[in-house]
């Protein structure tokens, strides 16, 4: 199937004919960055199920989003012009991040999926009442999880995705119940509350300012997506972070002064997300480095073992 699929470029494929798996994946990334859409979806992780609504608009190149929980206490996260605000059930709100003036949705330029995944087209299916292409991404090494994806045949947006463990069990799943490709959303729909309390404050808008996290080892195919330096309200010390992605899997390395956190060496997990911390001693100063991401535990341990902090003459 993989060989057959590779012979059928997406652009030239006749209607209803399966496109090439890798071209479809590139289209998937582009579609997500460019399309406005709305829909309801189910999310499952670690045995918990929740239903959510997503509205996403791309207006003059700016991305606006509203994600609402449909069960339990009403809760929303809204993104507007570089700011992410969380609105709580009691109507209070928290500013989660702000990158005023900086491209808030600066995507990793890569749209390809690295060779560390074997991509196979699994034929046609249906999700949310829409024709879909089924894709299987199998890792060629043990450093990442596998994925099953269902892409909308019309828009190439992801209609359903699963993160798989080594036994093809779903560690996490997202599935659209409905999708509207013409939601007619305007900026005013994403108005932010004006009195949002700050959870974080930017230490520097220059991502190259301050100490740099140096991963001594990364699994092949991973590249840096973004990094920044922030303070958490109520805590002392700057939190440095660097996020790495292979196009599907993502993890973030955080480094902070040891005084503000004590690592216990335990692995913490929710579905595919692991959290692992270890002490880091450098330039006669003590830090704690924490990895949070959707990678196998052994990958997290190995990455964390080789992290250092370049303090630049500090």
């Amino acid at each position: 199937m993989a060989v057959l699929a590779a012979m059928l470029p997406a652009a030239k494929a006749a209607e209803g004919e399966p496109p090439a798996a890798r071209e479809l994946l590139a289209d998937m990334a582009a579609a997500y960055q460019q399309h406005s859409f709305s829909g309801r979806f189910i999310y499952m992780r670690a045995g918990r199920v929740s239903t959510l609504a997503l509205e996403r608009a791309v207006i003059d190149g700016e991305v606006y989003e509203r994600v609402s929980r449909l069960q339990g206490p009403a809760h929303e996260v809204i993104r507007n012009n570089g700011r992410t605000v969380s609105v709580h059930p009691d109507d209070s709100s928290t500013l989660l991040s702000s990158s005023d003036g900086i491209a808030s949705f600066r995507f990793n330029d890569r749209k390809d999926i690295p060779e560390q995944y074997a991509a196979r087209l699994g034929g046609a299916g249906r999700v949310a009442g829409r024709p879909a292409w089924r894709l299987r991404l199998e890792p060629r090494d043990g450093y990442r999880y596998g994925y099953r994806l269902w892409l909308d045949q019309q828009s190439h947006l992801v209609l359903k995705s699963e993160v798989l463990n080594g036994r093809n069990g779903a560690l996490e799943r997202v599935e659209f119940l409905s999708l509207n490709l013409n939601p007619g959303l305007e900026r005013k729909h994403f108005a932010l509350p004006e009195d949002a309390g700050k959870a974080w404050s930017a230490e520097s808008e220059d991502e190259d300012a301050g100490p740099q996290i140096e991963p001594g080892w990364l699994p092949e195919g991973f590249a840096m997506a973004t990094r920044d330096h922030h303070r958490i309200q109520g805590r002392t010390g700057v939190l440095h972070s660097a996020t790495y992605s292979d196009g599907l899997a993502t993890f973030t390395l955080f480094v902070e002064p040891a005084s503000s956190a004590k690592p216990d060496g335990n692995l913490r997990r929710k579905g595919p997300t692991v959290v692992l911390a270890r002490p880091l001693r450098q330039a006669r100063r003590s830090f704690v480095t924490t990895l949070v991401g959707e990678v196998p535990a052994d990958t997290a341990r190995r990455v964390l073992k080789h992290v250092s902090l370049e303090t630049r003459g500090d």
Binding site: F107, K111, A297
Partner: protein
């Protein structure tokens, strides 16, 4: 290296149990009549569990939210009107019985674990319960594979890092939908 640990296998097993049942039921109900029965399904379960159920406009009007936050119910949504609205409006349904990762929270406005959740937990084996016990601190000692409780402050800090990671992933990679789902559910836990 194997790449997959026993904890991960257990977590996947847990996903196949209570969550899978719930997942299938939501899908089935939504498929039926293009989701028109979805609201009714929520309402029926709410009544069964003695909880409030309110159909609200998709943008969660602030007034409704305030009322919900106070534990009350909008005046217009009583009796037959409530039933009609819930059954006919193509809108979000806010129910109180299910709470993501919320069994540990005890703050004002937080629902306690539902009967369904409790039943699911009772049905789960002890090994699974250690990993999915109502969203309790899912900490696994990497060597001894046992559940570990973290100090509240440390737990909160790690949760903040997970929120931060999810926000960065949503904004800077192509995996935004899943990352947004993680973010909303992590944030909700802090309420």
């Amino acid at each position: 290296m194997s790449g997959y640990t026993q904890q991960e296998a257990l977590s996947a097993l847990a996903d196949d149990e209570a969550g899978e049942l719930e997942y299938r039921r939501i899908l089935r109900e939504f498929d039926d009549e293009d989701g028109a029965t979805w609201s009714r399904w929520h309402l029926a379960r709410d009544l069964m569990h003695g909880q409030d159920s309110v159909a609200v406009p998709r943008d969660f009007a602030a007034g409704v939210r305030r009322n919900l936050g106070k534990g009350g119910r909008p005046a217009w949504m009583t009796g037959a009107a409530r039933l009609m609205v819930a059954a006919s409006v193509a809108a979000a349904t806010v129910v109180g019985w299910q709470f993501w990762d919320g069994a540990t929270t005890t703050g004002a406005g937080q629902p306690v674990a539902s009967n369904l959740e409790r039943a699911a937990r009772l049905n789960a084996s002890a090994g699974e319960a250690a990993l999915v016990s109502g969203g309790q601190q899912e900490t696994v000692d990497s060597k001894r594979e046992r559940s570990v409780r973290l100090p509240r402050e440390r737990e909160q800090h790690l949760n903040n890092l997970m929120i931060r990671h999810s926000d960065l992933t949503a904004r800077h990679t192509g995996q935004g939908i899943t990352a947004n789902a993680r973010l909303v559910n992590l944030e909700s836990r802090n309420d």
